[in-house]
Every structure is written in structure tokens, then in C-alpha cells.
């Protein structure tokens, strides 16, 4: 009974992640923007493994491509590969301590960035700052907060 309406929270959180991705940031701090959409997807995949799947991540990736003006399919392939790994490891990831989890997220974000980097390399538009890679560190730092916030939200709206 309660389940159907409470799932609305999933797209709502994703929309907030999109807004954070579009939010203008001053100067060089644009390079430090955490991978919001990816982290939100990782969280939902870890906690609702039977509802989230690779296809959904791919679809979100296409939306992200259109919003950020990258090649159509670039974010889609990166997101679906990372989410595939999360689906394979979800039970293990959930058992980890927060620190271990954050380190795993850093590795996953790094992989995501690496795929984007490769695609950008193929089309000859590499990011011009080494700060590009710092995004995985900022993502790692933000992860515990995202986890706690979404965990609270999930309990309150009883999403299972």
C-alpha cells in the first residue's frame, strides 16, 4: 500500500543531484564538483538492488549527457559500467565500514572519471587541468554525509 507513492523519493533525489551538477561554481572549484548523480545512483543501487538496474543508470546517463553537453552516450556508458559493478558487489559493499565504503566509492568514481577521460581522449578534448582527478577525493569526502542523509530519508519514507 505504502510502497508505490514512497518510491517517488528516488526521482526526487535524482533531480536534486542534477541541480547540484548544474549549479555554477566559481573558478577552479568546478573541477572539484563531486559526482553527485553517480553517488546517488550508487546509494540507491546498494539499498534497492532489485529495483535499480543497469538500464536505469544508462537512461540517467543519457539525460546527463544532454544536460552537460557531452557526447550522447558518454556518461551513459560510464554510469552503466560502474553501476554494474555495484550490482555485482552490493551485498559486500553494504557490509563495509563507512571508511571502507568511502574508499570503494572513491575507486568507483575514479573508474567513472577514467572512462570519461578515455572518451574525451578519443575525440581530442582532454580536460586541461590535473585537478580533474581531484573529483574522486571530494566524492569520497562527501560520501558519508550523502549516505547518512539518504539513509534518514529512506527510513522516513519507508522505501524498501
Amino acid at each position: 500500500m505504502k510502497r508505490a507513492p514512497s518510491l517517488i523519493i528516488v526521482p526526487c533525489v535524482l533531480i536534486v543531484a542534477f541541480l547540484l551538477t548544474l549549479l555554477p561554481m566559481p573558478g577552479w572549484t568546478v573541477w572539484l564538483r563531486p559526482a553527485w548523480v553517480l553517488m546517488v545512483l550508487i546509494y540507491w543501487t546498494m539499498n534497492l538492488p532489485y529495483r535499480m538496474n543497469v538500464g536505469f543508470a544508462w537512461f540517467i546517463g543519457i539525460l546527463l549527457d544532454v544536460l552537460t553537453g557531452t557526447l550522447l552516450g558518454e556518461h551513459a556508458i560510464a554510469l552503466s559500467i560502474v553501476i554494474y559493478l555495484v550490482v555485482r558487489w552490493d551485498s559486500r559493499l553494504r557490509m563495509f565500514l563507512m571508511l571502507q565504503q568511502a574508499l570503494c566509492v572513491m575507486l568507483l568514481v575514479f573508474l567513472y572519471q577514467f572512462i570519461l577521460f578515455c572518451v574525451q581522449g578519443f575525440i581530442g578534448q582532454l580536460p586541461k587541468s590535473p585537478l580533474y582527478w581531484a573529483c574522486s577525493f571530494t566524492s569520497m569526502i562527501v560520501w558519508p554525509w550523502i549516505w547518512m542523509m539518504l539513509e534518514n530519508m529512506r527510513r522516513r519514507f519507508r522505501v524498501v
Binding site: W58, R88, K128
Partner: protein, 281 residues
């Protein structure tokens, strides 16, 4: 368990193939542009949702600036306007004289096209993508390929038009090419973006070409996309390596690509002949 996992793997495999196919078609052809526009129409509210509060805060800042600073700014602006008007008088005389001379030479006279001021929306793209989003679109007759300028120079061209927004490819993108001409020596070249350095590179310029540092390059109007005579940038370095066939020339863009808020959309004169008549003095 095994069945479920292998199913997901298969799905990933197919999605990866679709993504790669999409990326290749997007990079090589214009076929998926339509699809991109269709997807971006429902996403436009998101861009407005981010952009409007920021613009609102900016406006609020303007409202709250004190009377004193406003008076001072007003005074400065008036002085500047006077100066510009004085310069304009000279240009008007020169322009009419120029048109007269061109008429004598029986070539097409230069007339100003229609211009529209657009605002850059306060939304970020990925930092390695050289694009901006404007708040004017199909409703204001913006078209793909339209040149975009700011107060100091050429910014780029429109590559995608949505009903109320449009996307602009900046001149620093490797996919952007602008036909330019040196003001000092008249040497022509094609200026291609160099996203790695954030500058513009002149392609295939022979070692013997007369180009020095601090030369100014204007759009030449060849290629019929950018109108002639707008500044593209200033040469910052000329490297002539005897081992290479062409010299490597870097140009600093004149437009303030990361600082402007307002930009100009230009309708080249031939497209609005009827409107020009009423505007020409």
C-alpha cells in the same frame, strides 16, 4: 543467482554497444541532434530552476547597492556614453564614406544586421566542455549556426536550438573554426580552438607568413557564417620550428569567454533585408 548475474552482464554488454554507436554517430554526423533536442526540452526547467535564483540574487545585489555608488556609476556611464557617441560620429562618417566608395566600386555595401541581447544562463557544463547555454531560443528565431558576440569579440556559434534556450559552441572548442584576417599584414587563416590551453590556434599557416606577437585578428567574413570585421583575438606566441611544415601560432580570445553575462546574437544582414531598411539612417 548465476542466471540473474549473467543477465545483467548481457544487458550491460548491449547498453555499452548502443552507447558506443551513439557516441560515434554523435561525433561524426548530425543524425542524433534531433534526438538530443527532444530529450533536452523536458530538461529545460531544470536549467531555469538553477539559473533563476542566482540571477535573482544578482538582481537583489543591484537593488541593494547604495544610492551613492549608483550616482557614481551613473556619472561614469554618462561620461563613457558621451565618449562612445563622439567616437560613433566619426565612425558613422567613415561608414557612409566607405559605403559610397564601395558603391562606386559596385560591390555590396555593408549594412548592420539585426541584433538581439541574450543572457548566459547560470548553469555549468562539464569543465572540459566548451559550451554555454543562452536564455533565447527558437521563440526568438535563433537558428543553428548563428554567430554570437560579446562586447569585446567573437564568442562562438549556436549549435543547438531549443524552444526557449540555445547552446553555443565557444571559439576555444576544437570543433570550432573561424576564418580570420590579420589587421596589420592582411594574412588570412583559419582559427581553430585548442581546448587544452583554452586558446585558439591558427591552422596551416606557412612559416613565411607575416604574423608577429600582439597582432590582432578579425573575422574575415569568408565562409559566410561570421560577419566580417569583429575581433577574434590577439596573437600571444608565434613558434617557427624549422623541422615543421607550419608555424604554430596561439591566439588569446578577445571575448571574455568565462566572464561575460550578456552576449549579442547577430542576424547577418542578408537574412533580414526588409528590417534593415527601417534601421539604416
Amino acid at each position: 543467482m548465476f542466471n540473474k548475474e549473467s543477465q545483467i552482464g548481457l544487458r550491460l554488454f548491449f547498453l555499452a554497444i548502443i552507447s558506443i554507436a551513439l557516441m560515434v554517430t554523435d561525433h561524426r554526423t548530425k543524425m542524433v541532434n534531433q534526438l538530443r533536442t527532444v530529450i533536452s526540452i523536458p530538461l529545460t526547467p531544470l536549467q531555469y530552476l538553477v539559473s533563476s535564483p542566482i540571477q535573482f540574487i544578482d538582481n537583489l545585489k543591484n537593488l541593494m547597492s547604495t544610492h551613492d555608488t549608483l550616482v557614481k556609476e551613473n556619472f561614469n556611464l554618462k561620461a563613457e556614453q558621451l565618449l562612445l557617441k563622439a567616437q560613433m560620429q566619426r565612425y558613422l562618417a567613415i561608414e557612409s564614406e566607405n559605403n559610397q566608395l564601395k558603391a562606386l566600386l559596385k560591390s555590396a555595401s555593408e549594412v548592420q544586421g539585426k541584433v538581439l541581447v541574450a543572457e548566459i544562463m547560470a548553469v555549468d557544463t562539464e569543465p572540459f566542455v566548451n559550451q554555454i547555454v543562452l536564455d533565447k531560443g527558437e521563440n526568438e528565431n535563433v537558428f543553428v549556426g548563428q554567430p554570437v558576440l560579446d562586447a569585446t569579440g567573437v564568442m562562438g556559434q549556436v549549435i543547438q536550438v531549443m524552444p526557449s534556450t540555445s547552446r553555443v559552441l565557444l571559439v576555444t572548442d576544437p570543433h570550432s573554426g573561424v576564418p580570420v584576417q590579420n589587421t596589420r599584414s592582411g594574412v588570412r587563416a583559419i582559427a581553430i580552438g585548442d581546448s587544452f590551453s583554452g586558446k585558439i590556434r591558427l591552422a596551416n599557416v606557412p612559416q613565411t607568413a607575416d604574423i608577429r606577437a600582439d597582432d590582432i585578428f578579425l573575422t574575415s567574413g569568408l565562409g559566410q557564417r561570421y560577419p566580417a570585421g569583429y575581433p577574434l583575438g590577439r596573437v600571444v606566441s608565434v613558434v617557427k620550428d624549422p623541422g615543421l611544415q607550419f608555424s604554430s601560432i596561439l591566439v588569446e580570445p578577445a571575448a571574455q569567454l568565462d566572464r561575460s553575462r550578456e552576449v549579442l546574437l547577430i542576424w547577418p544582414a542578408q537574412k533580414v533585408e526588409a528590417k534593415v531598411d527601417t534601421k539604416v539612417k
